[in-house]
Subunit: 200 residues, 2 copies
Amino acid sequence: MKTDPESHARMTQRRREGHEKKQAQATVEKGLLIVYTGTGKGKSTAAFGMAVRVLGHGLKLGVVQFIKGALHTSERDFLGAQANCDFVTMGDGYTWNTQDREADIATARKGWNEARRMIESGDYQMVILDELNTVLKYEYLPLDEVLSVVGARPEMLHVVITGRHAPDALIDAADLVTEMRLVKHPYREQHVKAQRGVEF
Amino acid sequence: MKTDPESHARMTQRRREGHEKKQAQATVEKGLLIVYTGTGKGKSTAAFGMAVRVLGHGLKLGVVQFIKGALHTSERDFLGAQANCDFVTMGDGYTWNTQDREADIATARKGWNEARRMIESGDYQMVILDELNTVLKYEYLPLDEVLSVVGARPEMLHVVITGRHAPDALIDAADLVTEMRLVKHPYREQHVKAQRGVEF
């Protein structure tokens, strides 16, 4: 990638022109349906990074955390303490901690009722539904109902859904989908434990 | 995935046992080298999600933003305002905005000097080097120097490096690597512009 100054200037000029052309064509503003899925780390984390941007602009944020409700997390401490953020946790920990499908379904329904209220209220600029994909994968909630509510969201509301195994119909409906692909993970290879600031 | 209550209980029991076994083996605590790369969206965003976790625990965070320095971002507004966070921006915008390789190299060096000071000080629990991969790809900084400083970091310091095109040697050195894979992106397909709270 080392180049002489003249070809460097030409290259950056071309890149700048390409960028300006793309920017000129990009005129649409709309509430996006954003999905972070895949088995790699960084799905919920990316959603909470968007939370930082939303709060940095003084916009209003809603978060419903499915599945991880029983775990104490610092994202809940930190974001939940912000004036512009409503942070709701649901669930009795990861699914392997409960052994009662009916109880899991009831918990998912309670979380979804909160999510639905946030989406339909028109009061929020972003709603994050953390681990909702996992809830859908276990069929704790009907996919059709979720797609219908999310599809009818206010025009400028961004909805962010995280979790492994996003259903195909959700990916079809989404505007922006990133798959987090696991390249290397220290848990397995080095017996590293979950650490403060990284996992929770 | 619908199952009768008994096999659901057996399945969750097996899952719980597998999780407990993994947890028992995971005893190592160490500062991790974490890399978010790939062409999908969510790399810097995931780093800023980790920032939320670190700050939520009252730990000390350093951020050096390479490349995007000239852009005004809400993550800088928000994180930079936190007592436990030192947030430094470097660079004259995206690389295509400068057409002077020597100036880009000098800017990268200034950013790296800040990063190096943070890493070597022992004062931080996490240091985020946003878009450093891009700097390395253009060879604005010597890879050997970066690997050597990051490799000699304090034992409990987590370093998070983002950007497309992470060099192979950095991936080899890392503890945790996620590739963000682009599945769907609304810019190209729908001419959606960069929006507050999502991109900046």
